[in-house]
Each structure stands twice: as C-alpha cells, then as structure tokens.
C-alpha cells in the first residue's frame, strides 16, 4: 500500500510539472507577467455624445465618442479628449500619459517609444508620473527607463485585449468632426 501511495504522488507531481512546463512554452513573449499591472473588465463599447464619467484616470475603457484620437505614433502636447482616447484603446492602441511636471528628458525618452498603435499626451489628473493604458489594462511607473514599459507595449499594442481587432489608428481623412 505504501508503494502505491508513493507512485501515485510521484505521478501527480510529474503531471503537474509537465502541464506547467507545456504552459511555459506557450506564447512565452505574450504571457510575460508585468509587476503592478492593473486589470479591469470593460464590456460597454457604446458610442455616445458628450462626456462620460470614467472611474479610472486615465480611463481604461467603456463608452466612448464616435471618433477616435489618432493613435498611429501621435504625440499630443495638450490633453486629448478622454472619450476619443477610449475609442483609440478599442482599436488596440496603448496610451502613454504623463503628469505635466514630468522632466523634459523623461518626456523625450517616452516620445522615442511612441510608434504605431501608440499615442502620448499629458494627463493632469493622474497620480503617477507616467502611466500606460490599454483597453482594460493599466500600469503606473515612476520613470521612463522602467523596463516594464517596453513589455507593456509589446504585449498590448494590438494585443489580445483589443475589442476591435484590425481597426485603424489613422486619423479619419477630411476631419474628425
């Protein structure tokens, strides 16, 4: 009886180990954990006119404007309209925001990271110096050289969280309104 017990335990350990191992092989890059990542479930994607009361600052998803903020590597010097930015998140963009008092060299370092499916703007109401937001996902960091920034960009630009895969980040031709 004792032998059976030992064998059973050994097999169970083997089983758990192999499942863990095969999981670790799967999409290694995309399953990278990000320390401090906050996740939210946002399913309401209704188009609305006017302002929306968002819970998070910057907002992480929910109802939004009919038009999106251009998010194809666009760098804004003024805050963007929240309702338009949320529409950009729906299209799979990562929104890089910073507190307006962030030092110039930090802002420049962030600008270098802003490419396709990324946009950047100051956000006066945020509590952290730098924040990264994708639909339903948010990360606060202190400094532009934090390695989690690149991990976040790799994982979420047109990532699996995107509610509208394939949507564009280009500005609508002929004006947004």
């Amino acid at each position: 009886m004792k032998n059976i017990l030992i064998i059973t335990v050994a097999v169970i350990i083997l089983l758990i180990g192999s499942v863990w191992w095969s999981n670790s092989l799967k999409n290694q890059n995309l399953s990278e954990g990000i320390e401090g990542l906050e996740q939210f479930t946002r399913t309401d994607r209704t188009h609305v006119q006017g302002e929306v009361a968002y819970e998070e600052m910057p907002p992480v998803g929910g109802r939004h404007a009919n038009v999106w903020a251009a998010c194809n590597g666009n760098i804004y010097d003024e805050p963007v309209i929240n309702e338009q930015a949320v529409h950009s998140l729906e299209h799979g963009a990562v929104w890089v925001t910073y507190a307006p008092d962030l030092p110039e060299e930090q802002i420049d370092a962030l600008k270098n990271k802003v490419r396709g499916y990324t946009f950047m703007s100051p956000f006066p109401d945020q509590t952290s110096p730098i924040m990264l937001t994708a639909w339903g996902n948010q990360l606060a960091v202190e400094s532009a050289d934090d390695s989690r920034i690149d991990t976040f960009l790799r994982k979420f630009r047109q990532g699996a969280q995107t509610p509208e895969p394939g949507a564009t980040c280009n500005a609508v031709p002929g004006g947004m309104n």
Partner: protein, 209 residues
C-alpha cells in the same frame, strides 16, 4: 498475482493515462493543426470574408454618396476594420494551404441545430437573392449607388444594420461550434462589436424620423 505485480501494473496504468492526457492536451492546443475542409473554421473563414467584403464595399459607396461627417467616419472605421479582419481570415486559409473559395453552398458549415435555433433571425436577415444572412442583393447595392445624401444615408444604415445582424448570427455560429482559440476570439469580437454598432446605427436612424 502477487503484490509487486499489482503495483507495477498500477504504476504502468497511471503513467499511460497521464501520457494520453498530455498528448491530448498538446494536440488540442496545437495551432498548426489544420481544420478539415468541411469544418466550421474553414467555412466561416471563407464565408465571412465574402460577407465582410460587402460591408467594405457599402462603406466605400456611402463615403462617396454623402457629406455627413459622422456617417463618413463610421464608414471609414468599418472599411479599415473589416478589410483587415478579412485578411486575417484569408490568412488562416493560406496558412492551412486551402483554397480561399469553395463551390459549397454558402453557410453549409453552420450546424443545422444552430441554424434552426436562429430561424427567426435568419428569416429577418436573409433576403431572397442575397447569398448570406444580412447581405444586400445586387439590386439593393445598385439602389445605394444611385442615391445621395439623406436618402443614401438612410438606405446605408438600414442595409448595414441588417448586414451586421447576419454577421452576428454567423460569428456566433463559429463561437458555438469551434475550439480554435484565435478564431473564436476574433469571432467573439465580431459578435460584441457589431452588436454595439447595430444599436449605434439604430440610434442614428431615429434622427431621420
């Protein structure tokens, strides 16, 4: 049988079960497995790429037929999204080394019980002369081409609402029948996204009444 043999037999049996289980897990999540010609995945990829193409065509048309910026923006969004999603679906077929088109009847991939369960939606969205649920007939496309401004906007919204209703029905059919992780995820975004756009368009349409 003595005790030692029993233990060996027991251990061997357990190991076999574990190995079988692991093999099953590995193959079921292996993305390189090619779905069968008659599968829902292959049928959906082919039919939905045709379905999407008409939405793209209708959206290009309305951008030429009206100056209403909100409608034009919305059409621009549809063009980009559905054209790219078409590419994703055709890309799967290319990867699987399968023909992009078929001589099968459209919608043949959708299980009967699913079709009859949604018979009402089918009846409402399937127009005689159209090839799939929600799709516009050649005559309807011609009417859109021949109209302008408010008349064209209303017709576009009516046709696109029905087009999306049919699209939701088809995408839900794939979600219900498939275990292909990536395709199910894409189809689920179609169900949620197009459902939201239907409500948005219904709201726009009310402004004309």
């Amino acid at each position: 049988m003595n005790n030692q043999n029993k233990i060996i037999l027991f251990a061997g049996g357990l190991l076999l079960i574990v190995i079988a289980g692991m093999l099953f897990l590995e193959t079921s999540r292996d993305k390189s497995v090619v779905p069968k010609e008659s599968s829902a995945e292959v049928g959906f990829a082919r039919d939905m790429s045709i379905h999407h193409q008409q939405a793209v065509d209708m959206s290009f048309l309305i951008r030429e037929r009206t100056t209403n910026q909100e409608i034009r923006n919305f059409a621009y969004d549809i063009i980009n999204t559905q054209a790219t999603q078409r590419g994703m679906m055709l890309g799967w077929l290319e990867l699987w080394n399968l023909p992009l088109t078929t001589t099968e009847t459209p919608m043949a991939w959708m299980a009967d019980e699913h079709m009859s369960g949604d018979m009402e939606v089918m009846r409402e969205t399937f127009t005689p002369g159209a090839i799939m649920p929600g799709m516009a007939t050649p005559e309807e496309m011609e009417r859109l081409r021949a109209s302008a401004n408010i008349e064209a906007e209303k017709l576009f919204l009516e046709l696109m609402i029905r087009h999306h209703q049919g699209g939701v029905l088809m995408a839900q059919g794939l979600v219900d029948q498939s275990e292909h992780e990536d395709m199910v995820r894409l189809a689920q975004t179609m169900v949620d996204g197009q459902q939201g756009e239907i409500e948005y368009m219904q709201g726009l349409l009310k402004r004309y009444k």
